[in-house]
């Protein structure tokens, strides 16, 4: 187990280094001067340009810039905006709301998606199963920003069941509607995945044995369900990246002052440093979550042993 963890950590180090370098190279090696938009529509004064170039090593080769960027990143320094606000400072202020939003979304995913998956698997081939399949297929192709806008419009602005925009504090109850909007796509996939896998498992020999020895139905289903949870957990882990991307959109729509809202507002203000810093952190978080998910396998499936 520990050797496996060590190997995975090494692999992840490689991927994190590669991914951050890639981002860095893409962002900074692209045509366009990072200082060009800094002073509005006129050119920045020459002295200021020189000072900024020195400060951000803009005249150094790519690898020097990257090394200093990573060193700063490891020290928790994500740079600052042209306006002088610290990226890390803003990030720390924004993350609790986003964590709440993500937890609500994952909660909906697991509970509603799980229930839908189990129910449709048990009613395979019946009318309700076909109806659920059709509905989930349609929902799976609605982009998250459309879902968010529609829910805000319908349930927020028209019916007034939920607040249409979120206060700066972003309490749990306020975040229910955005969290649900964020979860819809993943929820649909969880339901479909669980249905397919559970149908497979319910046909397995061990399930027939369990039925033959007279176990009550719910115990039999639980037997199969435990094995079907593995792909679901993998999916939720892998989907975490999409969830973070969706959070940017949903937070923008509902004016939530979380990490995603921060990114959207920075995009509109053309603060590239903020966008790049925050998104890089999100990507590292995503990678760590995926590592944890892989390690979770062993707990869920005793057949998997890490050597």
């Amino acid at each position: 187990m520990s050797r496996y963890v060590a190997r995975r950590l090494l692999q992840m180090l490689l991927v994190v280094t590669g991914a951050t370098f890639l981002i860095f190279a893409l962002v900074w090696a692209l045509p366009g001067d990072p200082l060009s938009g800094m002073c509005g529509y006129r050119q920045c004064p020459a002295a200021y340009q020189t000072a900024m170039r020195e400060k951000f090593h803009l005249d150094q080769p790519l690898w020097v810039q990257y090394t200093s960027y990573i060193t700063n990143l490891l020290h928790g320094d994500l740079g600052e905006t042209p306006g002088g606000r610290l990226v890390s400072h803003e990030l720390v202020a924004a993350y609790p709301v986003t964590v709440r939003l993500a937890l609500i979304a994952i909660g909906f995913e697991v509970i509603i998606g799980g229930l839908l998956g189990v129910v449709t698997a048990l009613r395979k081939g019946k009318l309700s199963d076909h109806a659920a399949l059709a509905v989930t297929m349609v929902l799976s192709s609605v982009p998250v920003f459309v879902i968010g806008t529609m829910m805000q419009l319908g349930l927020g602005l028209r019916l007034h069941w939920f607040p249409a925009t979120i206060s700066a504090a972003g309490s749990w109850s306020e975040l229910i509607l955005p969290g649900f909007a964020l979860s819809v796509l993943s929820l649909v996939f969880v339901a479909r995945l669980l249905r397919a896998d559970l149908i497979d498992n319910l046909r397995a020999d061990y399930v027939r044995t369990a039925i033959a020895k007279g176990l009550p139905r719910h115990r039999v289903v639980w037997h199969a369900l435990r094995n079907s949870l593995i792909p679901v957990v993998t999916f939720i882990g892998a989907d975490f990246g999409a969830l973070l991307g969706g959070a940017i959109v949903v937070e923008g729509i509902f004016n939530i002052h979380g990490v995603g809202g921060l990114i959207v507002r920075s995009i509109y203000r053309r603060e590239s440093a903020m966008v790049v810093g925050v998104v890089t952190v999100l990507i590292v978080v995503f990678l760590v979550v995926n590592l944890l998910v892989d390690l979770l396998y062993a707990a869920l499936d005793p057949r998997i042993r890490y050597e």
Binding site: S140, T149, I283
Partner: protein
Amino acid sequence: MSEPVAAAVAIKAEPPLMPELEAQARLSRVGSASLTAQAWRHLRRNPLFWISSALVVGLVVMAVMPGWFTSKDPALCVLAQSRHTPHAGAWLGNDLQGCDIYARLVYGTRASLAVGALAAMFTFAVGVLTGLVAGYYGGWLDAVLSRLADVFFAIPFLLGAILIMVSLAPAPGEPAWKSIGLVAATLAVLGWPPCARVCRSAVIAVRDMEYVRAARGLGAGTPRILRVHVLPSVITPALVMTTLMVGGFIAAEATLSFLGLGLRGSVITWGKSLSEAQDYAEVSPHMVIFPSVVLSVAVLAFVALAEALREAFDPKAR
């Protein structure tokens, strides 16, 4: 359907020389013809396939010939009609600038489909090539290409796209094709690893099969083996994957445009219409609802088509 029957008839007509071999040949004959023929037979009976392909064809025609669907000029906007609800002059109403929403939706098809198709073609080419090379040669080449794919795969799609698009400063007076190309390239750069992975595992599955080894033993060169013996089993999963991705790319482009990062300049797109309409969602919901529906239907058409194809070509899913 007709091919296996014809084959069987042809075999019957000749006097059997070696009954056992003949039977085996007939079996394998039926087996080989069956993959495509069976898939087609399955597809033909699937209403989902017909509905989705009709939608896709309709969208393509709309993208190529928008003039067939509306006689209005999408750029002709009457400010006096700003945010008018649907009326006889404009079936879906007018947007903030007083443009005809229906005309803008029709003309917006081109950009969305162009981005989706371009990105998918690029993804397909890169994915199939890397998958073939990594899967067939194995060894260090496979290790390097797979790790490279891992790195790209590790970057969540929308996050990566936001990063790239933010750093691409818009050039004033940028032509539409350049903007479309940039977005398509961005999406493809982030989207190729899944396709490469699928192709790689498809190659590995057939690489050491008897018929490939036999071809090698008979002296076939690597390009021929790859083209004639390996590629056919890679193409199908890659095509299904690419079809699915066209839908995803269209949604991604709209999302980026919605965030103000996608297509720029005067390009008409569904995402930009939605982005503009969002601020008026409460007073003019028609500005939000119609583009949303069109966008979702377009994505659904490709997702459903991919689902139908996957079901038809994957015997396990039937």
